[in-house]
């Protein structure tokens, strides 16, 4: 089965006394490509992290493929995470491992400890061939044996995407995929992500700071502000002033600490 269905039912999250999300209800269908957009602290990342159960809502329910995350045991959650790729904002690759090892780590959840020890220390030919193919897909096959911290930001981004692909996930959750890239590379990375998702029928949910990129590449945008949905639909159906309103910060928001 390809693609994962995500569902938020009146989800609320309180964080240090403040509402990070407030009564959010969303349904994301298998194979859909969606971006959460909004200013810093609007709840984009929180929403994303709830989708794989990294954080739990304080109100409401999150369902993945109709299963309630709240009912899942630790083992079931671990199993679920092997099927959902998550690319963090800071990528969070192991800096002094080689690119191949960082990609191979994508299947740690499917192997036992000693099996994974063998793979990480001495991957076999089949594994390396598969990693090489995926790296070719993301455009950096020649970097397979390079140390990850020797790569540029854009290349590391691709390693993180390659890991999620090697994971054979049915859904990709991507937190601010282009926050550390220059505009040309940002377009490239988003183009790559959305086309990979469409090609493999994966559900792709990204949180995006850059509204213009989001409008260009994502067929569905969900606007969040102060933990509430301001709009949800295809970019051409959303009024320009709605975008403007989303980013108009009040003075107190400008001075507030980022969260």
């Amino acid at each position: 089965m390809v693609g994962t269905r995500f569902q938020f039912d009146s989800v609320g999250l309180r964080f240090e006394g403040k509402a990070a999300l407030d009564s959010v209800s969303i349904q994301i269908e298998p194979g859909e490509v969606v971006a959460f957009v909004g200013p810093s602290g609007s709840g984009k990342t929180s929403a994303l992290r709830m989708l794989n159960g990294t954080i739990r809502p304080t109100k409401g329910e999150v369902r993945v493929d109709s299963r309630r995350l709240a009912d899942m045991s630790g083992k079931e959650l671990k199993q679920l995470r092997t099927e959902i790729g998550f690319v963090h904002q800071d990528l969070d690759l192991v800096p002094n491992l080689r690119v191949a090892q960082n990609v191979l780590a994508g299947r740690l959840g499917r192997t036992g400890f000693f099996g994974s020890l063998r793979t990480m220390i001495r991957p076999n030919r089949a594994e390396l061939t598969e990693v090489h193919e995926i790296l070719s897909r993301v455009g950096i096959p020649e970097k397979i044996f390079q140390r990850t911290d020797r790569l540029s930001g854009g290349q590391r981004q691709r390693v993180a995407i390659a890991r999620a692909m090697y994971q054979q996930a049915r859904a990709l959750l991507i937190d601010e995929p282009v926050s550390s890239l220059d505009p040309a590379r940002s377009r490239d990375a988003i183009d790559l992500l959305t086309s990979l998702a469409e090609e493999h029928g994966l559900t792709l949910v990204a949180s995006m700071h850059d509204i213009d990129l989001a409008r260009e590449f994502f067929p569905r945008l969900i606007g969040l502000r102060r933990g509430q949905i301001r709009f949800d639909g295809p970019p051409d159906k959303i009024d320009a002033c709605e975008f403007e309103e989303l980013y108009q910060l009040e003075a107190e928001e400008m001075l507030a600490d980022d969260s």
Partner: protein
């Protein structure tokens, strides 16, 4: 209207008090021991010994006989140091694992909400951790010279006594430092591995340990230099390392010979330092 100036922090704060306390402790220690700096400038026979000893710095004994002893002394010193370090490394890595908190505890969002670590398991892990820390503290607090005395009495004058005497405290020092290095490694990469369904053990081994390995290697090399010195010193107890020959030469007032061995020890430590530096650079780049 401008706001009033916030209260200036006291210039006699905790840090100033600490510096004063340390200075007071130093003065008290010197007074307590009735240190006489005049003894640094001896006269008569003592001054003569001192002069003879340092005069020999420019005339080390390079006779064949001495060079033969030197070769055997250097070889034995390296052998003792290497054997002791090998044992210390294995024990240090194992003990260091149990003495680190990263694989079972740590910040929220790490293993704390990893549902696969149950409450009971965390308690057991905490008990193992405390036990490992106590073991390390206990064995580390006793110097290798003291261990040497114990093992020479218990096992007799043989290589094993010397190697074990060095290996025990070194294993504990390595374990303590390794554990801290692993615990201080940035945890984001390990947390990201949980995102792909990795177990806490996999997160530890593939997310944290690799980041600590360069520091751990550098530290192990530094400790190897220390084992060279320790192995040499154990020669004073009769094991045939450089210290053995230094002691014999010194007792027979053959200061030229003494300097030959001291220079060899110096060369050995410098070589180890250079080698570890070169290795470290190749490891990091």
């Amino acid at each position: 209207m401008t706001a009033s100036l916030p209260t200036r922090p006291s210039s006699f704060g905790t840090r100033s008090k600490l510096v004063l306390a340390i200075a007071a402790a130093c003065i008290w220690a010197i007074w307590q021991l009735e240190l006489d700096f005049g003894t640094l400038f001896p006269d008569g026979r003592r001054l003569q010994i001192l002069q003879e000893f340092f005069a020999a710095t420019i005339s080390p004994d390079l006779s064949t006989e001495v060079l033969d002893q030197l070769a055997s002394g250097v070889w034995n010193t390296i052998a003792y140091a290497t054997a002791a370090m090998a044992l210390a490394l294995v024990a240090g890595v194992i003990l260091g694992f149990f003495a680190s908190t990263a694989w079972w505890s740590g910040e929220p969002n790490y293993a704390a909400d990893s549902t696969s670590v149950t409450h009971l398991r965390r308690k057991i892990c905490a008990a193992i951790y405390v036990l490992a820390r106590l073991t390390i503290a206990l064995f580390r607090s006793i110097h290798e010279l003291f261990w040497a005395v114990i093992f020479l009495v218990a096992l007799g004058l043989n290589p094993m006594s010397g190697v074990i005497a060095i290996a025990i405290p070194y294993a504990c020092i390595l374990a303590k430092v390794f554990a801290e290095m692993i615990d201080e490694a940035p945890r984001e990469a390990a947390v990201a591995l949980r995102g792909v369904g990795a177990s806490p053990m996999q997160m530890y081994c593939f997310g944290l340990v690799p980041q600590a390995v360069p520091d751990m290697t550098a530290y192990a090399f530094y400790r190897f230099e220390c084992t060279l010195r320790s192995a040499a010193i154990l020669g004073f107890f009769g094991l045939e390392t450089l210290g053995y020959f230094i002691r014999l030469a010194f007792e027979e007032t053959l200061y030229g010979q003494c300097w030959t061995f001291l220079y060899a020890l110096l060369a050995l430590v410098i070589a180890a330092d250079w080698w570890s530096g070169a290795f470290r650079r190749s490891f990091v780049s």
